[in-house]
Symmetry: C2
Subunit: 244 residues, 2 copies
């Protein structure tokens, strides 16, 4: 399997660093191919605007999606974006490795999505959700939290982890066609003992070696919605549920 | 009222630009004070790491929260961060003005939160949620979407807008103590007629002039949770609901 890890932590000796190190080693040892974008090490710039392009469609008004579509048609992505797009289309499995910062992606990773997931290249023309450009590929969030698991449970004060990740799993991964693997979460690694940390890395290694068949989240299909994007049968939208 | 608008759009002539222009003019005309951080115009850097600080607590291992706490104790925030913190503590109402990008905040705004909402300064030592440092102040998302309102409704294909904004409203605003004003959403301004756009701006003006009493989202109180962050009574956590 071809695996692309987008890593968003500034400290190589962090637990996130250990997770990615584990992933690269375990996947390679099992014969998989791995590409890593270590965003902090690359000095990745997460700000999205005209810097994404070498082409200009309209110099008087910046409409990002129109520029993206134009750049896609005219090979006009800036080298940094073009390279990430190549990695994205190369991979069969995409992993976002990050610490949960303010209940979401660190800006450096959010901006990687803002800039790389360009109209024309990754979606557009009706290509979304199960009809998405990246359909057939798998994607997974691998993350750490500051708080304990209980605080991210169904009755947790911080909100259920699935609700917090919904904009990422559904809005970024599923929207572009990915099959969304259940997130791999390590809760509060800073408070774990050394043995517990080793155990968590072993658990992660096991997940990595079953990426191709690991349980995925289930979402409704595009055809279940009308042209206004409303569910035809009128039932409340199903939350993401595990496929057993 | 002292209002602080954090604006995250790269095109001044955009509808987001018009919303902020409307806000600044309407609030000033009504006698309110307004400060604007126009992140793209400021060239705000959203990447969070040692660049946030002039002080160093541990040069061998970057633990962001420890550095934040240390910087808070020793006036060690980088000038760009210190200035934003001053604006934050000056304001009585905070507005995030942004286009919904990939179902969340544009990276430049997410990074503003990652960097400015520092441990010690904005939370920590048990100060969170209704006991938060910023309690007594109000905050609101003002945003635009690409898709139609129907697609963000209860049965909408893109997910209910409240679910998408939950990590922001609950995780960023409520976590730090803000009273969270119901979000102000303009759906698909690009597809509106000129008259509809004018009408939406008038609707926004009306909201702005009632910021102090506009309906807010209701969240549970800190005391309802045990030390593990689990709801004491065991009922499923209530979703954000409107206070009538």
């Amino acid at each position: 399997m071809r695996v692309f890890i987008v890593h968003a932590h500034h400290e190589p000796k962090s637990f996130n660093g250990a997770m990615t190190e584990t992933a690269v080693a375990a996947l390679a040892a099992a014969g998989h191919e791995v590409i890593l974008s270590d965003l902090y090490r690359m000095g990745f710039d997460p700000v999205s605007d005209r810097r994404n392009f070498t082409t200009v469609k309209d110099a008087t008004y910046l409409k990002q999606q129109a520029e993206e579509s134009f750049a896609h048609q005219h090979q006009g992505f800036a080298p940094q974006i073009a390279t990430e797009l190549e990695k994205l289309f190369w991979c069969e499995a995409l992993i976002f490795q990050f610490p949960l910062w303010w209940f979401g992606l660190p800006a450096i990773l959010k901006g990687w999505v803002d800039r790389v997931f360009a109209l024309g290249a990754v979606y557009g023309g009706g290509r979304r959700y199960d009809n998405g450009v990246l359909a057939g590929r798998r994607a997974m969030c691998a993350l750490t939290t500051g708080g304990a698991a209980t605080s991210y449970g169904e009755n947790g004060i911080n909100g259920e982890i699935g609700s917090l990740l919904y904009p990422i799993n559904h809005g970024i991964f599923a929207f572009t066609g990915f099959t969304v693997i259940e997130p791999f979460v390590v809760y509060g690694p800073a408070r774990l003992t050394e043995m517990e940390r080793v155990s968590e890395l072993a658990r992660y290694r096991a997940r990595l070696l079953t990426l191709a068949e690991a349980p995925s989240l289930m979402y409704r299909r595009l055809e279940e919605y009308d042209e206004g994007g409303v569910l035809r049968v009128g039932r409340p939208e199903a939350r993401a549920v595990s496929r057993s």
